[in-house]
């Protein structure tokens, strides 16, 4: 601990530190804080859908307006703040410099600045709930005219102040601030990968998770630009009386859908790629085998990155786009599943005939692969075909589909990473009993929530309806029971995350001190330094001789060969 004499106070550590590990922790805590509310929102509107007349403590009886606000903010926070905040910003900050064997990011001050932008975006988002509209309810996709809301290009809110100090404006500003934050972070990640690798580390010896986070950042940068411009135009529509998206003036609401989904679809891969990267690390460590097809995975992901910029209109099959275009987008959408099938097959080939260690992170990782592939990926193929999508669009089937893609990636592989690296960055062990309890409750009740939604969707239950009581065919037979099962499961799913929060906080302060700096016997560089890594990460900077996954080589004594150990 060469820098152990640098004592950091609370304020310094949580507000002004330039150390990438501190900034990663700041991202993690901020996103967990905001995701807490998004989880509570989900519980509340699920209760409302199953038991419409129940009065919920603190929220009362949920009317259509409140329902819209809850659903919108649940989606916005989970997709834009939690997913990217944890998998890109927090994981990127924790992992990239240590895994590359260097002291910090390429631009530590830029890194700090990007966190400040992230924090201010969260604060602006929270402020949106205190505006006269009491929260934004225009759907997480922010489609105009819903996102223009009560202003509706009309005369009701003439004053500029009335338009500016509205939930609509504040939510858009929060989204814009968050994009700025992640763009700056992405520049930092990319330059760090290319310029700050340890001596001897070739580009094809970089751990997969680092590649994935950087590729995701680059993809984010290439896809988000048009939406930044679009957000700018939407802000002008609300605040300056322009009519970019106003059909009555020749503007086009579809323009927003194009700009949004040109970002929105690559966005799901921006979230997916770091998740796959974490899976690659956890699986190789616990399967004690080298990653099958490292180069192949990189090539497949780069192909998918290009394809992902050409599939966006599959979100708009029923929005009135040209049927000929729909065919093209259907075909491209189905093609894009091939590279990801290739990546998953590489993981399965890594697991094939391996000497499996079923540790807690490995359980999360295996569950992530199973749920993502079988229920998330395959239903994605269904929805990608325009013929099926026209039937299932805007039903609970779609809701179940994207929860089965996002939750395995964000929650399951995020947790795999958390349980894998917690001991490295805290120097303490997590409580295993609580960890297992958290895993099984999450696994069982996530399916208890998702599978009924598939069935409800196929039965024709539309999404984004503030209650189904008044629709006769949805309040008959077994459908109300399915909604109750989904609701009770969702409540337990959200509540079981508090086991994790408790485990995190308790173990970080009171957990058993870790006895080894490399408890999983892993090869990558972060395991070859102290736990937690000191300021500057390494006492002597490592020199790399091998690729990242040298397990079970016949010519070594132990079954793993660290990257920095000469043969």
């Amino acid at each position: 601990m060469s820098m152990a004499h640098v004592k950091k106070g609370f304020w310094h550590r949580f507000f002004f530190s330039l150390d990438h590990k501190d900034i990663g922790l700041q991202y993690l805590i901020t996103t967990m804080f905001i995701a807490f509310f998004a989880g509570i929102f989900a519980m509340v509107f699920r209760i409302h859908l199953a038991y419409p007349d129940v009065s919920i403590p603190l929220f009362g009886t949920i009317g259509p307006k409140e329902y819209n606000i809850l659903v919108t903010n649940h989606g916005l926070i989970m997709v834009l703040w939690l997913s990217m905040g944890v998998l890109l910003a927090s994981a990127g900050n924790f992992l990239i410099p240590v895994m590359l064997g260097t002291d910090d990011m390429a631009f530590p001050k830029l890194n700090k600045l990007s966190y400040w932008f992230f924090l201010s975006s969260v604060l602006v988002l929270i402020a949106s709930f205190f505006m006269p509209q009491k929260g934004f309810g225009g759907g997480w996709t922010l489609y105009p005219p819903l996102s223009v809301g009560d202003f509706g290009y009309n005369t009701a809110y003439k004053s500029f102040a009335g338009r500016f100090f509205s939930s609509n404006t504040f939510v858009l500003l929060a989204v814009a601030l968050e994009f700025v934050s992640l763009l700056m972070g992405g520049i930092n990640f990319m330059v760090t990968l290319f310029n700050k690798r340890a001596k001897g580390m070739g580009l094809l010896q970089v751990p997969m998770v680092v590649w994935m986070i950087v590729i995701a950042s680059v993809l984010f940068m290439f896809s988000v630009g048009p939406l930044v411009a679009g957000t700018f135009m939407l802000l002008l529509d609300i605040n300056a009386g322009t009519g970019f998206y106003d059909a009555s003036r020749g503007g086009d609401p579809l323009l927003w859908e194009h700009l949004f989904w040109f970002f929105g679809h690559p966005e799901v891969y921006v979230i997916l790629l770091p998740g796959l990267g974490i899976l690659a690390e956890v699986i190789t460590t616990n399967a004690r085998k080298t990653l099958f097809g490292y180069n192949l995975i990189l090539v497949l992901v780069l192909i998918a990155m290009v394809l992902s910029l050409m599939v966006w209109a599959h979100h708009q099959f029923v929005a009135g786009i040209d049927p000929r275009a729909a065919t093209v987008f259907s075909i491209l959408t189905i093609i894009i599943s091939l590279p990801f099938a290739g990546v998953i097959l590489s993981f399965l080939a890594t697991l094939w005939k391996s000497n499996l260690r079923l540790t807690l992170p490995m359980k999360w990782a295996l569950a992530a692969i199973v749920l993502f592939t079988i229920l998330g990926g395959f239903t994605g193929l269904h929805l990608g075909a325009a013929l099926f999508d026209v039937y299932a669009h805007d039903t609970s089937f779609v809701v179940a589909h994207f929860h089965y893609t996002l939750i395995p990636v964000v929650l399951f592989s995020g947790m795999a990473g958390f349980y894998h690296w917690f001991n490295k960055f805290s120097g303490r062990e997590l409580n295993r009993f609580l960890g297992n309890l958290h895993f099984w409750l999450t696994f069982i009740f996530f399916n208890g929530f998702g599978i009924p939604l598939f069935l409800l969707g196929l039965a024709g239950q539309p999404r984004r309806y503030a209650g189904y009581d008044h629709i006769p065919y949805l309040s008959e037979g077994h459908l109300p029971l399915l909604r109750e099962i989904a609701t009770i499961s969702a409540i337990i799913l959200v509540l079981s995350q508090f086991i994790f929060v408790f485990n995190f906080i308790w173990s970080a302060f009171k957990g058993k001190k870790i006895s080894s700096t490399n408890p999983w016997e892993s090869t990558t560089l972060e395991w070859q330094t102290d736990s937690p890594p000191p300021h500057g990460n390494f006492e002597v900077y490592p020199v790399v001789y091998h690729g990242p996954y040298e397990y079970n080589r016949p010519d070594t004594e132990k079954d793993y060969l660290p990257q920095n150990q000469k043969l």
Binding site: A106, I187, F244
Partner: protein, 202 residues
């Protein structure tokens, strides 16, 4: 393990700041790309936009194009001076660049004034009153695109100013002229796209 100092572990295959700036520029082009595609699609859809484009001041736009192109030349001269670490010449050429930026903004302000007086504003209520709905969109997008570009001109000039001040104070960080200059060229190139699209096509 051996004992390497931290300065030796960074391989610096590509100069760090230049790589970051290229990445930023790529991101900026996508932002303007979104606006330009929006503009082109609407332009092809609505013949009325051509009529609105007639109201732009082509002469002022042409002068502004020359001003920006000249400023790019000045930045290159400043870069040349930075390679020779000649602080006096750096200051001379950067001040000329900033002067060009100010001239550009001045001419743009002159254009805006005339257009606003003719009733063409961000939301153009005068055109709306005449029933020319689609035509208002042209001006909305005109102000959005040129306004966003104008903000980039301001940002680029400020960056050049602070880089120059820092160099003349400390006598180090000469490479920053190149990095800020790259940004300035980007501002120039974006204008090269905007000028024919907005002013020249009728």
């Amino acid at each position: 393990m051996n004992t390497l100092s931290i300065s030796k572990i960074a391989w610096n295959r590509i100069p760090q700041a230049r790589l970051a700036m290229w990445t930023l520029i790529a991101g900026e082009f996508v932002i303007f790309g979104g606006l330009i595609v929006t503009y082109l699609l609407n332009r092809m859809k609505y013949p009325g936009w051509g009529e609105m484009a007639m109201h732009t001041n082509v002469i002022a736009g042409t002068i502004n194009t020359f001003v920006l192109l000249t400023s790019s030349f000045f930045v290159v001269k400043a870069h040349e001076a930075a390679l020779k670490k000649n602080i006096g010449k750096i200051k001379f050429w950067i001040w000329l660049t900033i002067l060009c930026a100010l001239i550009f903004l001045g001419i743009k302000a002159y254009e805006y004034t005339h257009e606003i007086h003719a009733g063409f504003t961000l939301s153009s209520p005068a055109l709306l009153a005449q029933g020319k709905h689609v035509e208002t969109l042209y001006w909305s997008l005109y102000y959005t695109m040129t306004g966003l570009h104008g903000l980039h001109v301001v940002a680029g000039a400020l960056a050049l100013f602070f880089v120059m001040r820092n160099i003349s104070k400390t006598g180090t960080h000469f490479h920053r002229i190149e990095v800020a200059g790259l940004y300035w060229h980007m501002v120039d190139i974006i204008w090269i796209f905007l000028f024919p699209l907005i002013y020249l096509i009728h």
